[in-house]
Symmetry: C3
């Protein structure tokens, strides 16, 4: 396959072949991480800008490590210190970064569609590192790579996603990616957190957590965002754990080798018990490792596609 | 010419030949930015410290990109996390950075004279990235490089600077640089924002915005800093735009190819209308691109001058 | 000697030979700093993560410079922007960083034992950059390197430590390191700031500052942390300076070549007078320079030890 997209905005727009191509590119980059010198010169002389409007150490660090292992120069811009304070618009900020002759912008933004908007206005590559409730494509890609490694395939797998489906870009990207690759996706959430007409995306809504786990080959457990200032947070958390928490007892009724995933950071005792998080079914840390390989693949592919398209213009 | 200054503190102290030498060095670095690998090993093994006491993403990022494209190692220090909190003086901070065997300090500070003071007490190179209302020499140098590219020369040009002249280090550095290179400089501002005796710097004060634009080959539009908490900010902004805003209508009465510059970040609809900012006369994004080349040139020249002076001491 | 520890957690656990080996490795890295290209490829392709839960520009920057001069990739994580906000535990954060295939975590934490706890749970190298009141081993190592350079040896030296002994990790690491190397350590502090039974660590408690200085070959002056919001801070500071401040007059009664050290940042006029800080006995800036060499040595040794132990497992 020949990768031609200059941007990675979401999995909704990708074909099955494109998703598989990113995954196989990531697999080859994973080997680099096992070398004594974990670096390749693929993006030497290129500049990757991490433009983060929401705090996110994990995703920023993962992209920063990935870019540096490709030998790119990395510039971090966080909202707190940015010109945003001075009222510059997102597009103006993007145009300015482009004028620095940067090659890739990795953008995290609280508005759905922020990455798409940047990609429309800029010639340089845009990678969506999470936009509002819309998509978080590299998270879904690393989940898919992990599933493939653990279970040998994605097609035909039963994957359940548990948690706040309505407000989760991780859920949306996983649904797009998994259904395109032929997995059967089930979602499970408190009634208020199931988006209406979610079945139109090709997923099944489980009746309860036991129903979600029963046939599942894998369960992807989303992070719950209970309000900190909410004085009912603690009873709500207890209640959530009682009804949706992944526990050893619940796993006993599931398939023996069920793969348990979580995008992190994990709330132990809320989304799952510690014995599950640290137990044999959990692949949470392997997801983190795979995140580097997936992000190396994505940065490499989009930068290369743009170079090729520049050459064609000559 | 042989560049011998270890520091770049302002354009006031430079000769015409020195300014021209920086500009021609920048022109040669600009070519580097067009290569597939946008990097040269000029400062390999050198350490550049960005010491920023005021938040400024644009200038910090521009210096960081410039230093990395010269293969230097870059360390960012921002006020919020600095020892400054613990009461260390600027000079002690500088001496400590020097003791780390850093090679260049790029300093942004709210006090006029901060860079000069550091340069006096330290042997390593100091580059002024803006000190109070005093100077912002690399901004003026990139403005001059842009003018030269767009209009073929600087000598004899009519350049108008519009905005808060009194509190602008960008204005001061531009006035020093442009007049040394033989341009005719006009300033235009609300009466309270014209410094007394500004004519002594060799500039003309325009009667109003139309007078400032009439003969201008270029207009450099300064950023206005309206107080955020000021409840009159909005009426003041409207008023400013009415009297000084650069609009399509006003440009119709100016020279057809007038070059419109702005140091950014732009307040659209306050300092200029969006159709001007995005129109054919605007060179705002070219200024950003030229900022990298100018800063590469400055970092390279001051670091080299210091190496030479070290060798002479042997 | 063959260095085999994957971590540097404190000087308490090290043998005399291990401390001397770090110092001699640091001496050889010091030479690198005098080259025109101040870099060696020793850690090329390795990732060093600075994980700082307390603000500390000096220590973070020193480790960052050291790691970059070893050609490592450096990732900075500061508390303010970290997942810590989202409630992730220290160990989970460490496991996540390990899963990124980082090689060394340099950790600064307000809890004593934080570095030890990370080292127990992780396979990658941990370097303690200060944990609560416990240890700050690289600070003591750079103090020891400075003493050795200035006085030719450490064994048999009389070293006085002045200041808040009770709450100082710098004091504790110095006491462990100096006594192991055969120095005679005296401590001197306001009565409330002398920990009970401190003599059990093999140190003498001086009666007053003159007693502390009389026979001293070197005095290590700790930073005092007067509460900022304390309305009695100023009188307390004056009082402290009167009773414990290192002044020219006091030094007249000490050995002529007494070495005056301070870990920085210095409170001029509180812990010592400016004429002493800037005078011929002060080695404060040489300590900063030696900090780079010591940290290069430590990063190099722990990373190498881990590589060797990985190979043995094969």
């Amino acid at each position: 396959m020949n990768w031609t997209r200059k941007d990675l905005l979401g999995l909704e727009e990708l074909t099955k072949e494109e998703i598989e191509f990113i995954i196989s590119t990531a697999e080859s980059f994973k080997e680099v991480q096992t070398r004594e010198i974990k670096k390749v010169p693929a993006l030497r002389g290129k500049t990757v800008v991490n433009l983060f409007y929401e705090p996110s150490t994990r995703t920023r660090v993962s992209f920063e490590v990935a870019a540096k292992r490709l030998s790119a120069d990395v510039i971090n811009i966080a909202t707190e210190t940015s010109s945003v304070k001075k009222g510059e618009t997102l597009i103006d900020t993007g145009l300015n970064i482009q004028a620095l002759k940067a090659d890739v912008i990795v953008v995290r933004h609280n508005y759905s569609g922020a990455a798409v908007m940047l990609a429309k206005h800029l010639d340089i590559s845009i990678v969506n590192a999470g936009d509002g409730w819309h998509e978080h494509p590299t998270q879904a890609l690393l989940d898919i790579l992990t599933l493939k490694e653990k279970l040998g395939r994605v097609s035909g797998l039963n994957v359940s996603i548990v948690g706040d489906i309505a407000h989760s870009r991780v859920a949306r990207s996983n649904i797009w990616g998994l259904t395109k690759l032929g997995a059967n996706v089930t979602v499970c959430a408190p009634a208020m957190l199931v988006p209406p007409a979610i079945e139109k995306l090709g997923v099944r809504v489980a009746k309860n957590i036991d129903d979600a786990l029963r046939q599942a080959d894998a369960v992807n457990v989303l992070r719950m965002q209970f309000e900190r200032d909410d004085e009912n947070a603690f009873p709500k958390q207890l209640d959530y754990f009682k009804n949706f928490g992944i526990t050893k007892e619940r796993l006993l009724k599931a398939k023996k080798n069920i793969v348990v995933m979580h995008p992190g950071p994990l709330n132990r005792g809320i989304e799952m018990s510690s014995d599950v998080a640290d137990g044999p079914n959990s692949v949470i840390l392997e997801q983190v490792t795979n995140g580097i390989a997936v992000r190396m693949a994505v940065l490499f592919l989009v930068a290369q596609a743009r170079d090729n398209s520049d050459q064609e213009k000559l």
